[in-house]
């Protein structure tokens, strides 16, 4: 065999195998290190802190679990959330995440390693990302070979699409869910390949874990049945499929299967039994009879099954699709009927720059990898293909589901990339069948037996080659090549390979360049876009140094230090978990969003004039109202920008009282300057946001830096609320709700009376009185 570059000849195969496995272990160690390290930007740039919103609740729940044990945790009723309703926490959450950290915590403490529960929570996601890399390695190794597996592990270790949900401090269900997802899929593939009940059961066990950890488990519930169904339709029924699926489903079936999400799994299970029975029958009756029998029974079963499904859904025996799930298919559904779901930013559809930002070059290697799956098309490749189609649709519909697309993109891109590397590193050169144009590399003209079976095709190719090297003939011969490549069955007998070292070098350098670019890209995206805790913000000073904006914690700690333990704080639901976690005060609504009416009540209070809002506040015992205002700093994620959702959600419940168009100018613009509509100017949210804002600018024009609009000089006045606290950069503003006037006047007239009498009374005095109170 001619080779493109010299190979050492005195190495024994055992040495090669040992070195390869050592290298694999070293590479995998490095990949894990890189995966963990790149998630620590947040800890290094800021500090070891829990991020964003939901993680604060998970953290709080984990603290309860660690302090009081699992049984207390399971029965935990939280009276401070959803005041005055309270919330049964134990039964309404996915406890997998908290249980995992609880186990780690107890494990470490058993060995007398006194690690703080917060640090476990902060570092859980990076730790699990290493496990995810391992699961992806195993999965991809089943698809192609361990070298592709290593590439896939490296890709998923640093790809921003996964880092976005798993940086240190992002203590959310997704942190462990992606590992569980990939490992369940690996077990399923393995079970299918071996026909192994053991791996099938293992898949079921990890599926259980997934059910306990993340709402996205429905993805697995439906992926595996769909895979089984497609294999059936392709005529690939086998004993292995039967064993694998049945052992998986036997355990899944224990669950309450009376929801629509699980019906597909049940249906496929039934179908498999029928087909298994049919193949048994086939071995006993004649082929003609069998065909008739099969056709009739399949049609009957299909009609009966569909009918039963409709009847049971109609009768209410099967729970219908949940709203979140339904909104994936009918994309207009959420906006019409469940504005809360539509209002969450991570439920928005994905524009193409997000795909590129999160996956970079993998996004175009991904289709190439899928093509290669089609070339081999073993059972596991079918799985990847289905996964690719389904996940790319889901990721397009919702930004957050980019997370489910990322693993398959990494796997598929790794298959493509490692095939590319394999092809161009492989030192063997093909045996040339023509003598034309001798190249720099040594070629041989001996036609051995291995090259002859496809001689017709070769002759054709030779003829095409000899027709000339003009561009048109290249195009047509390229087309011929594609046709011959696609019609080729299995591994070609035609000799395959690359001539010469320069061509190899060109492709490999190109590939290495792309990999390096990918690493730079991932590092940049991770450090710039995904490592902000969003509780602590950072800006850059004019000299390039970092300036930390810590308004949230400043305000939450103010609440914690200066208000009574049972003071009820009202805010928009985004901040509920944070207030509970950091300020430890009861909240009206939080990120759990289970009670639409309660959220709409808050929305109504925020969007109504003071006189209407005040009774609502008093009825709910609200002592403080907390809002986020970014106008001073130009922080765009503030409440005025979320305000329309409050209006919309309130309108959903009180269509007569709150109407969205009233908050726009007659020309349909959303404005906060002097052209703002009356409803807007009188709303509690507007007043609280811009109260005394203009004073800050003295004689200059007050400008809202988010909306880029000038705020009127004479700002809004507040009669029913007192400003209690405003953070350093005005991001958080807290107002205290006044008690009813002791003389029984309404607060507006009481206020007017007081101001008429004591003109000199300055604001700070009243502020101090509030604090003493």
């Amino acid at each position: 065999m001619p080779t493109a570059y010299p190979l050492p000849t005195n190495v024994s195969p055992a040495t090669v195998a040992n070195t390869a496995s050592l290298l694999r272990i070293v590479a995998f160690g490095l990949i894990s290190a890189a995966a963990i390290a790149s998630r620590l930007f947040a800890v290094i740039n800021f500090e070891s802190i829990i991020h964003e919103f939901d993680p604060w609740f998970n953290y709080r729940a984990t603290r309860v679990l660690a302090a009081k044990g699992f049984y207390e945790f399971w029965n935990w009723f939280d009276p401070t959330a959803w005041y005055p309703l309270g919330r049964v926490v134990g039964g309404t959450i996915y406890p997998g995440l908290m249980a995992t950290s609880g186990v780690i915590y107890n494990f470490l403490h058993y060995f007398n390693l006194p690690v703080d529960i917060r640090n476990i929570c902060v570092l859980l996601a990076p730790g699990f990302s290493a496990l995810t890399a391992w699961a992806t390695y195993m999965f991809t190794a089943e698809l192609k070979d361990p070298s592709a597996g290593l590439l896939a592990a490296a890709f998923i270790g640093i790809v921003p699409g996964y880092i976005s949900r798993s940086v240190a401090g992002s203590y959310d269900n997704e942190a462990i869910a992606i590992f569980l997802l990939m490992f369940t899929f690996y077990c399923w593939i393995k079970a299918l390949k071996l026909g192994s009940a053991f791996f099938g059961t293992l898949a079921a066990v990890f599926y259980f874990y997934m059910v306990a950890a993340w709402g996205g488990y429905a993805f697995i519930t439906n992926m595996i049945p769909v895979h089984a169904l497609v294999l059936l339709l392709m005529g690939r029924f086998s004993g292995r499929l039967y064993v694998a699926y049945s052992s998986w489903f036997r355990f899944v079936g224990f669950q309450p299967v009376r929801t629509s999400e699980h019906m597909g799994a049940l249906g496929v299970f039934g179908l498999l039994q029928i087909v298994a029975f049919a193949s048994l029958v086939r071995s006993h009756v004649s082929s003609k009879q069998f065909q008739n029998l099969l056709a009739i029974s399949v049609v009957t079963m299909g009609v009966l099954g569909a009918g039963a499904f409709v009847v049971m859904t109609y009768k209410g025996w099967i729970a219908p699709w949940t709203g979140r799930f339904y909104s994936l298919w009918d994309t207009g559904y959420a906006k019409k009927y469940i504005p809360i779901i539509a209002s969450v930013s991570e439920h928005q559809p994905t524009a193409w720059p997000s795909f590129f930002m999160d996956l970079q070059m993998l996004i175009f290697l991904f289709p190439a990898g899928v093509v290669m799956c089609f070339r081999d098309l073993r059972d596991e490749h079918v799985f990847v293909i289905i996964y690719a189609v389904v996940a790319s649709y889901f990721a397009g519909v919702m930004v957050r589901l980019m997370l489910t697309l990322t693993p398959v993109v990494c796997v598929s891109a790794a298959v493509a990339f490692s095939t590319l590397l394999d092809t161009y590193i492989d030192p063997t050169e093909p045996e040339a069948t023509t003598t034309e144009a001798p190249t720099a590399a040594p070629t041989t003209t001996t036609t051995t037996a291995t090259a002859t079976p496809d001689s017709k095709k070769i002759k054709k190719a030779v003829a095409a080659a000899q027709a000339g090297n003009s561009a048109s003939s290249i195009a047509s011969s390229t087309f011929n090549d594609i046709v011959s490549a696609t019609t080729r069955k299995g591994k070609s007998s035609k000799s395959k390979g690359i001539w010469g070292a320069d061509a190899r070098l060109a492709v490999l350098l190109n590939a290495i360049g792309m990999l390096a670019f990918f690493v730079f890209h991932c590092t940049w995206v991770t450090s710039n876009a995904y490592s902000s805790p969003s509780v602590v913000l950072a800006s850059t000073n004019s000299d390039g140094s970092q300036h930390i904006i810590d308004d949230y914690r400043e305000a939450y700690y103010w609440l914690r230090q200066n208000t009574p333990q049972d003071a009820v704080v009202m805010s928009w639901w985004d901040y509920g978990y944070q207030i509970a976690g950091m300020a430890d005060r009861p909240t009206l609504v939080d990120n759990n969003t289970w009670n639409n009416t309660h959220i709409a009540t808050v929305g109504k209070a925020m969007s109504s004039p003071e006189e209407i809002a005040y009774p609502i506040l008093r009825k709910h015992d609200v002592d403080y109202v907390l809002i986020i205002f970014g106008g001073l700093l130009g922080y765009s994620g503030d409440d005025i920008n979320k305000f329309l959702w409050m209006v919309r959600i309130a309108q959903g419940v009180w269509p007569d009282e709150i109407q969205e168009p009233n908050y726009f100018t007659p020309t349909g613009e959303y404005r906060v300057d002097d052209r703002a509509s009356d409803a807007m100017k009188n709303s509690l949210m507007y007043k609280m946001s811009y109260y005394r804002f203009a004073e800050l600018y003295g004689n200059q024009n007050a400008v809202d830096r988010v909306r880029n609009q000038a705020i009127p000089k004479v700002g809004p006045t507040l009669d029913y609320l007192d400003e209690a606290f405003t953070s350093e950069n005005w991001i958080v503003r807290i107002y205290q709700v006044r008690k009813e006037d002791p003389l029984g006047r309404d607060l507006k007239s009481a206020n007017a009376f007081e101001q008429g009498k004591k003109k000199k009374r300055s604001k700070p005095v009243s502020k101090r009185r509030v604090i003493v109170n």
């Binding site: 524009a351 720059p353 175009f364 290697l365 190439a368 290669m372 397009g396 690359i498």
Partner: protein
């Protein structure tokens, strides 16, 4: 005090007379207009008279070609369908609610008076007296957050009508026919297209095309109703979280080209039987890969201005 009471007592029958007179006129107008009253200044004042004992839903629109109001034209059929559905209600309830359309060109004065600057707009005037009195003097606005379809409109307006509007969405015969004929055609030709369906490459093409359009952001344009190009003819939308329809095509094409060159390099070129042509193709496809990737990065820099990297371009 007594005098006032007496006066108003006197005035009451007069007011009733006026409103019942007007009501007859409105009823006949509605009947002749297929359920919709066509308004001008005068009839508008009558319809929204402060002494009305009926409620009214009014569509403010601008259907004239010169006004170039595409949404108006889109909404018009829905409005008429809902109004038509209302005519099937028994007269006892029907005559307490009227549907009306006011075109800008018939009564620009009303638009000015009401401070309306856009169309279409739907306002509901509640009854000022009588059995269905609402006690609200201000008209209620319908917001088009659910689009221009008739279904949500009827549902919303039913809150303000004496009885719910018996609107039923018409059966979309054309759609059903298409589906049925498509299925029939499929069943008839299955013998001939079966080889195509059984070919893995047919499915490969379907799969690849699906994932390319999805990763090109097609669902974003579908859900947000993004236009194909910008109003000023630009094909690339500014901003990281925004895009036009044409970007889907361009981006999917770029991804497709890049994937294709990788596939060529790995699956086709190695089977090449002539060294010279193979080398040429390797350089060709490597060049395409680099160049198109550079174009892609450049495109991404347009969308995300803070992106620090660039390739050849």
């Amino acid at each position: 005090m007594k005098l006032f009471a007496f006066l108003s007592f006197l005035a009451l029958p007069l007011a009733f007379a006026a409103s019942s007179d007007g009501k007859e006129k409105l009823t006949s107008l509605a009947a002749s207009g297929n359920g919709v009253i066509k308004l001008n200044d005068e009839i508008f004042d009558l319809l929204t008279a402060p002494s009305r004992d009926w409620s009214a839903s009014i569509q403010f629109t601008a259907l004239d070609k010169r006004r170039r109001c595409a949404p108006c034209k889109e909404f018009e059929p829905s409005w008429n369908a809902v109004a038509k559905a209302w005519t099937t209600v028994p007269a006892a309830q029907r005559d307490h609610h009227f549907f009306a359309t006011l075109d800008f060109d018939d009564a620009p004065g009303v638009f000015q008076k009401l401070n309306l600057a856009s169309a279409p707009v739907v306002w509901v005037y509640g009854a000022a007296r009588g059995p269905y009195q609402t006690g609200k003097t201000q008209p209620l606005k319908y917001d088009f957050s659910n689009g221009f379809e008739a279904g949500p409109l009827a549902l919303h307006l039913s809150n303000h009508t004496p009885v719910p509007i018996p609107y039923k969405a018409p059966i979309d015969w054309a759609r059903w026919m298409t589906v049925i004929s498509g299925l029939l055609g499929f069943a008839l030709t299955i013998r001939f297209i079966a080889p195509v369906l059984q070919s893995r490459w047919t499915w490969a093409i379907i799969t690849i095309c699906t994932s390319l359009t999805m990763t090109g952001g097609y669902m974003f344009t579908r859900i947000r109703g993004a236009p194909y190009t910008g109003a000023d003819g630009s094909w690339i939308a500014g901003g990281y979280q925004n895009q036009f329809g044409q970007e889907v095509q361009v981006v999917a094409l770029i991804y497709g080209t890049l994937a294709f060159s990788v596939v060529m390099l790995t699956m086709i070129v190695p089977y090449q039987s002539s060294p010279a042509r193979q080398r040429l193709q390797i350089y060709l496809w490597s060049g395409v890969l680099m160049l198109v990737f550079s174009v892609l990065v450049t495109l991404f820099r347009v969308k995300n201005r803070g992106y620090p990297f660039r390739l050849l371009l």
